[in-house]
């Protein structure tokens, strides 16, 4: 549009020049005719050429002045006005060249100023309400993120609209879940589709369907419950909430117990039946001398029975606690809990803890140990209490509660174990806690006047450094429930596409030989950068990073030690970006690195690609500077200094720039991806377009 103005001005001046040439020619021709002096023809021609050159020069000069100080100034002013009008820019209007336009520039600045103040007042009101709502939203998110099962919300087309942290744990196998991705990228579809169809067919809004499904990657078995959502019916079928929990271990333990039970019947039934027959024959033949063969048969069957029972009993004992929900608990946490509980009861206890991870119910175990400590401390002649956690040969450990004094009488000890524990639940005794942990406890003498109570724990291992806490958050966009699934990318409105915006830092500018040292990406779904769906990794390029490159991005050889190599990183990015339109600032540069590695792995990137350099040229004209810094400044995006020239910082800036350019493109009638490609190609004569 801006180019059209300049063309019109040029045409106007061309027309003016043509008119002047015409008028000059006509005047000279008339004068020559009136004079009737052929000898003056040369003089007339000379005067005509001189005047023509003068007119041409003056017209070109006037056109240049008008183009530079008029058309271009109007163009720049219009672009700035559009930026303020369409992308919520704050701050004063940059008048620049428009100063040449008299009062037009200040007038435009006044309009922008007024617009900004109106927006400011509106923003304040919206901000107050937003703060209130976001506080409530934060509370709800905190509650949902702590729900101990995976929660998913899907559209009727099975696209993810909401998921919590537990769902990430359950579904992640190579690729973490992402908004607007298809659920069947993570779960085998049969049981889910069947449950969904059943619920839809039932026509009952409150009905729920239980299902058992498996993940596509590691084939974990998940038990789920599905319930339909009301009100959203855009895709022809209602969306649904799916809650999931991992039952792989439960099913495994259950299957083992079932197998054991079947073996018990099988291996006991046969010798029992044989014994019954042999003994029956002997009983009915009391008058006959027992033959050696009958005795041998009895002994053999009894031996078989004894072996079967003992071996099956040992296996039962081995797997007895597998079904019980015991968790991996740090002994330091247990000891802290125990110490706090005993201090409040006035019991002094020395603790020796090597720092192990125990498979146990920490709450029950602390209750049992504190009860035992309190009992021992209350006995006459029992002093100097000490609780040691001792590593044992094999997979176990043992708590040893010792004291200076006589051993605990077994009768008293059994009475303590039979008494209810103070855990707020009826029916929990020391004996039941031991049973649930598949263990025993007993008093024993230690020598040197000391005695002890020993409580073995079946599974323990050395604790390693505590891993950083996993960020538990919920990720959602409920607007996706109302989103139509469109087939061809070219026909899809820009606002409906899913984007992956990315940036890389490299060892240098040679795309054929240099390597990636950092790669970052964010997902943009429904015109929002999805919080929690990002990739940000250092990459070991397998070669020294030149000092000049380090000066730009600050990444040193030391920083990339132990980081994944470029091939693994690109493969991970490939999975992260599946199904999305890729966006980068100066995309050909970054894409060259990605394509090189992807091609080496036999998996090229066939994603559509957008380049924010080209989009900027479409919106602001080719004559502007389109660096990320310049574009960010123009669009009012602030990149923190520490984030500048980091892959993630530049990625976020690029994503924000794209989201601000989007309404400007739409205002120019560029609505679909196909529209943007056509426009980019018109502007991209000097720039590379990656969508072949």
């Amino acid at each position: 549009m801006a180019d059209r103005l300049r063309w019109r001005v040029a045409l106007l001046f061309a027309g003016l020049a043509a008119g002047l040439f015409g008028a000059l020619g006509a005047g000279l021709a008339l004068a020559y005719q009136r004079l009737g002096a052929p000898e003056l023809a040369g003089a007339f021609l000379e005067a005509g050429l001189l005047a023509g050159f003068a007119i041409a020069g003056l017209v070109v000069w006037a056109w240049l002045v008008f183009d530079t100080h008029g058309a271009r100034a109007i163009e720049a002013l219009a672009a700035n006005l559009r930026a303020h009008a369409q992308s919520d820019l704050d701050g004063e209007l940059e008048i620049g060249r428009a100063q040449q336009l008299g009062d037009l520039g200040p007038a435009a600045a006044a309009v922008v100023d007024r617009l900004a103040s109106t927006r400011g007042a509106l923003d304040d009101a919206v901000a107050r309400e937003t703060t209130r709502l976001s506080t409530e939203k934060g509370r709800l998110e905190a509650i949902l993120s702590d729900v101990p099962v995976g929660v998913l919300l899907c559209s009727g087309a099975h696209q993810l609209v909401f998921y919590n942290g537990q769902a990430v744990d359950l579904l992640s196998s190579g690729t973490a879940p992402g908004l607007d991705r298809n659920l069947f990228d993570y779960l085998r579809d049969g049981p889910v589709r069947h449950a969904h169809e059943r619920l839809v067919d039932s026509g009952e809004p409150d009905a729920a369907a239980d299902l058992l499904c498996a993940t596509t990657g590691e084939a974990r078995v998940l038990a789920g419950r599905m319930r339909l959502l009301e009100a959203y019916d855009v895709a022809g079928a209602p969306g649904y909430v799916l809650t999931l929990r991992d039952v792989t271990a439960d099913l495994d333990a259950h299957a083992k117990r079932e197998q054991l039970l079947a073996e018990v019947f099988d291996r006991v039934r046969r010798p029992a039946a044989n014994l019954q027959t042999v003994v029956g024959v002997m009983a009915e033949s009391a008058d006959m001398p027992h033959t050696e063969r009958l005795n041998a048969a009895i002994l053999e069957e009894v031996s078989t029975l004894v072996h079967a029972i003992n071996e099956l009993g040992a296996r039962y004992d081995e797997g007895r606690t597998d079904w019980w929900p015991l968790s991996q608990t740090r002994s330091t946490d247990l000891m802290d809990g125990l110490r706090a509980r005993l201090e409040s009861a006035g019991v002094v206890l020395a603790i020796e803890d090597p720092g192990l991870i125990l498979r146990c119910d920490g709450f029950e175990l602390v209750a049992l140990l504190s009860e035992l400590c309190a009992h021992v401390a209350s006995r006459e002649g029992c002093d100097d209490l000490c609780l040691r956690l001792i590593e044992e040969d094999g997979p176990g450990a043992a708590f040893e509660l010792s004291w200076a004094g006589p051993p605990m009488p077994m009768g008293d000890f059994e009475e303590w174990l039979a008494a209810p524990l103070d855990v707020g639940v009826t029916g929990v005794t020391g004996r039941s806690v031991l049973f649930n942990h598949g263990t025993e406890a007993w008093p024993e003498p230690l020598g040197d006047g000391r005695s002890a109570i020993r409580v073995p724990i079946r599974e323990a291992r050395r604790a390693v450094r505590r891993p950083p806490p996993i960020t538990r958050s919920v990720v959602y966009d409920f607007d996706l429930l109302a989103k139509q699934q469109v087939g061809a990318v070219a026909d899809t409105p820009l606002a409906d596409l899913t984007y992956v915006v990315f940036d890389s830092e490299t060892t240098g500018l040679d795309t054929a030989r240099d390597e990636i040292v950092q790669l970052a990406a964010v997902r943009v779904v429904n015109c929002r950068v999805v919080r929690g769906e990002q990739m940000d990794t250092l990459v070991d390029p397998g070669r020294p990073i030149p000092a000049g490159s380090t000066q730009v991005h600050g990444i040193t050889d030391q920083m990339v030690q132990g980081a994944p190599d470029p091939a693994d990183t690109v493969a991970r990015f490939h999975r992260f970006a599946a199904g999305a339109v890729l966006i980068a600032h100066n995309a050909p540069f970054d894409m060259a690195f990605l394509q090189r590695h992807a091609a080496a792995q036999g998996a090229g990137f066939d994603n559509p690609v957008l380049d924010t350099v080209l989009l900027s040229a479409v919106v602001f004209g080719r004559q502007e500077t389109h660096s990320l810094d310049a574009l960010s400044t123009r669009l009012g995006i602030t990149i923190p200094e520490e984030a500048r020239h980091t892959a993630l910082g530049d990625t976020i800036a690029t994503a924000q720039a794209f989201l601000k350019l989007l309404p400007m493109l739409q205002a120019r009638g560029i609505v679909t991806f196909g529209d943007v490609l056509a426009e980019v190609r018109r502007h991209g004569r000097l720039l590379e377009d990656l969508n072949s």
Partner: protein, 133 residues
């Protein structure tokens, strides 16, 4: 107390009559002097009186458990030379460990084969390898 030829004495503390009958036959045939108690009550006093060479002690007894009897016997220095062989139908590895930790000298799980019991009794009463078959 039934007497046998070996001269060694065994106190059997077992509440199940059928197994007690079988043990009676076995120990008599093996030549041990033996006596049976059908309950844990008063068992420690009886051990003190008889001072047997071996106590064959069931874990699950009415009134007083086998573990309690085992602990009480082991608390008396005068009875330190009395061997204790525990028997239980709950023969988990943890039970065995508990029995041995409480001072038992041996532990057999029910059901057991006679050869296994005989071998354990021999091991505790006659450390030298038996030659009488």
């Amino acid at each position: 107390m039934a007497e046998g030829g070996s001269g060694k004495s065994i106190l059997v503390i077992e509440d199940e009559d059928n197994i007690a009958i079988a043990l009676d036959y076995l120990l008599t045939r093996e030549g041990y002097r033996h006596e049976r108690m059908a309950t844990g009550a008063g068992a420690v006093d009886r051990v003190r009186e008889l001072h047997p060479d071996l106590v064959l002690l069931d874990v699950m007894l009415p009134e007083v458990s086998g573990y309690e009897i085992c602990q009480a016997v082991r608390m008396e220095p005068d009875l330190a030379d009395v061997k204790i062989l525990m028997m239980t139908a709950r023969g988990s590895a943890m039970e065995r460990r508990k029995g041995l930790a409480m001072g038992a000298d041996g532990f057999v799980s029910k059901p057991f084969e006679l050869a296994e019991l005989r071998a354990e009794v021999c091991r505790l009463l006659d450390p030298e390898p038996s030659t009488d078959g």
